[in-house]
């Protein structure tokens, strides 16, 4: 039995190392900004004061955290059996598209029913989109990594096609967007902020994911496949079916994120639906090693960075994409550490 004191020291050590890694990542990004003649201290002050310094800022960070958690789960669920779903972005767009169809065509339904239908459509849209990649993989035709990546572009173009063409709001002058959703198609907000019911979706999905993994036959079979696919196959576990089902569930969660975004954040379908939530979600899942609690923590960190990017664009006239550097550096640091430790 290990001595409690030893454990505490080990934990302090780990915490210290974690702090050092975060400091390293922040330092590298600061150096990059300095090289390009920007003031990193002001940039950090802006990022942190705008996201953590006020109730409003904090609630906006939570709003960003919702799609990040769901798209992270979209990558984490298939990753249990080493499937690499990099298509969260496209699945989010297709989910948003399907939910939008429901919002525009079924607006006569009572609100709770309409929202439920939109959520189901969003889930199914994203899920079936990812399911294509799952089937291609299960048949051994195309690696899901490359197919999900390519399908991202197709999904985004599909949304563009619709909002510039058949679905364009006739009263929207020339903006590429659909008509505004009816009030019944908007997810309820929580406590007078812009944080919406999607947060509950994301948290419930995370808890269910954790529960299924730890406590069900399903989770056990997944661990068997993840541990040794060949042995699992010989024990009669239908691997092909799991491949497709996990891709559908993962894609469905990303689609749900898309539904929540169009419904609660945008109120209509626009091509600027996501600043790359799907890709960030994939990185979150990796940073967390697919662990449910880790996903919540990493999603929060990336939500701060993403929300910070919006602020830098306004206060420092930096391109919004600049925060991608910070995100990448954080990930490099985390990835380098994972392997070196193991």
């Amino acid at each position: 039995v290990p001595d409690a004191a030893v454990l505490r020291v080990a934990r302090l050590d780990a915490l210290g190392r974690f702090a050092a890694l975060v400091a390293l990542a922040l330092g590298v990004f600061a150096a990059v900004l300095l090289v390009f003649g920007r003031n990193p201290l002001r940039a950090y002050a802006d990022i942190f004061s705008s996201t953590l310094g006020s109730t409003y800022g904090f609630s906006e960070t939570l709003v960003k955290m919702i799609p990040l958690m769901l798209t992270a789960l979209a990558a984490a669920v298939p990753s249990r059996i080493w499937l690499i779903n990099v298509g969260g972005e496209g699945q989010l767009f297709v989910g948003a598209l399907c939910a939008t169809w429901a919002a525009l065509h079924l607006s006569a339904l009572p609100s709770f029913l309409l929202l439920a239908v939109m959520a189901v459509f969003g889930f199914l849209g994203g899920g079936l989109w990812a399911g294509i990649a799952g089937v291609l993989r299960a048949r051994g035709w195309v690696s899901e990594t490359i197919s999900t990546l390519l399908m991202n572009y197709v999904a985004i173009l599909l949304v563009n096609f619709l909002v510039f063409g058949p679905w364009k709001d006739p009263e929207g002058v020339n903006y590429p967007q659909t008509a505004e959703f009816a009030a019944g198609a908007i997810l309820p907000m929580l406590g007078g902020t812009r944080v919406h019911l999607g947060l509950v979706f994301a948290l419930v999905a995370t808890v269910v994911f954790a529960f299924v993994l730890a406590r069900t036959r399903w989770g056990l079979e997944l661990r068997a496949i993840g541990g040794n696919a060949e042995a699992a196959r010989r024990n009669g576990i239908p691997i092909g079916r799991y491949v497709v089902v996990l891709m559908v569930i993962g894609g469905g969660l990303a689609g749900l994120a898309g539904m929540a975004e169009v419904s609660a954040v945008q109120g209509r379908l626009r091509p600027s639906l996501s600043p790359g939530y799907g890709y960030s979600g994939f990185l979150i899942s990796w940073m967390a090693g697919g662990h449910p609690l880790g996903i919540v923590a990493a999603a929060f960190v990336l939500a701060v960075i993403t929300a910070g990017g919006d602020i830098l664009q306004m206060t420092q006239a930096l391109p919004g994409a600049v925060v991608n550097i910070l995100m990448a550096v954080v990930l490099f640091v985390v990835l380098s550490r994972q392997r070196a430790r193991g």
Partner: protein
């Protein structure tokens, strides 16, 4: 009709060129056993550095050299993470892509909208006067002419030199290569630097010869298409030429149809290259997999 055919052919060659350089970059790196999903970022860094250097020196050649070096160095960062630190290649590759997107946006912010003369066009005497084929194939910039020779050179280096043998040995089985006295880490660093140089050139062709301007994220997924093209070409540099031309053709066809005012939404036409990639992989992918380097994507842990 002749004019359309000429633009289509010429467009295929021009659009296929950056794809070919990018495909060769990915191919070289995968032959050494490293999947690089960050090629998109490498291309962007090459595109922006090449553009900035051209604006300041007034010479597109200087821009091209700068782009190649920048691409190579940027890819060495990736090599450090995946070779020395042994990080997961797919995740690190995506992180590299993000890094490239952000870095190029930061560097290029002041140059959005600037115009340059770009790489000069050389008309090959006599040949360029052949109807249709002449102007389509023999009135381009130097990078277009160099593309096929570079592919041949890549083949020669990989299959006819000692170093190429090392690269392939490390990609197949790093432990055996190590036992045979090669240093897998050094070989992978070298291969990734060269791959970065090719990726930088691919990006530079977009900003210096095709667009002649800098636009954020101007590669628009070409780095990912290149990854698909490597599978299509079964990890063979000469087959990559055909693949790049086919995909260049898809991009060119879409541009031509838009120019002709074909009543199909440009967004649907834009899907062509991606759908074509998927279709090609679905048909060829399963069989091509056997041609993949043996330890592609795995991390060499050393021998203990």
């Amino acid at each position: 009709m002749a004019a359309v055919l000429r633009s289509l052919l010429s467009g295929s060659v021009v659009s296929g060129t950056p794809l070919l350089y990018a495909t060769l970059a990915e191919l070289l790196s995968e032959r050494a056993g490293v999947v690089n999903l960050g090629l998109e970022g490498v291309m962007l860094v090459g595109a922006v550095v090449g553009f900035i250097a051209t604006v300041h020196t007034g010479s597109a050649t200087a821009g091209l050299v700068a782009a190649a070096l920048a691409g190579g160095l940027f890819n060495v960062l990736f090599a450090y993470v995946v070779v020395t630190r042994r990080a997961n290649q797919l995740a690190a590759g995506l992180a590299l892509m993000f890094c490239g997107v952000g870095l190029s946006a930061l560097m290029g912010a002041r140059y959005v909208g600037s115009q340059i003369a770009g790489l000069p066009e050389f008309r090959v005497p006599i040949l360029a006067d052949i109807p249709i084929v002449g102007p389509a194939l023999f009135a381009h910039d130097a990078l277009v002419y160099a593309a096929v020779p570079v592919a041949a050179l890549t083949w020669w280096v990989l299959f006819r030199t000692r170093w190429g043998l090392s690269v392939r040995a490390v990609g197949e089985n790093p432990v055996a290569a190590f036992a045979a006295g090669r240093n897998p880490w050094a070989v992978q660093y070298q291969a990734l630097f060269l791959a970065g140089v090719l990726g930088g050139i691919a990006g530079a062709h977009l900003s210096l010869a095709v667009a002649r301007t800098w636009v954020e994220w101007m590669t628009a997924g070409r780095g990912f298409i290149a990854v698909a093209l490597v599978i299509f070409s079964k990890w063979h540099p000469l087959r990559a030429i055909a693949g790049a031309l086919l995909f260049g053709g898809a991009i060119s066809l879409q541009l031509q149809m838009q120019a002709l005012g074909v009543p199909i939404s440009p967004f649907l036409l834009d899907m062509l290259p991606y759908l074509l990639s998927l279709a090609v992989l679905a048909v060829w992918g399963g069989r091509a997999r056997q041609a993949a380097p043996g330890s592609l994507g795995r991390v060499f842990q050393g021998t203990q």
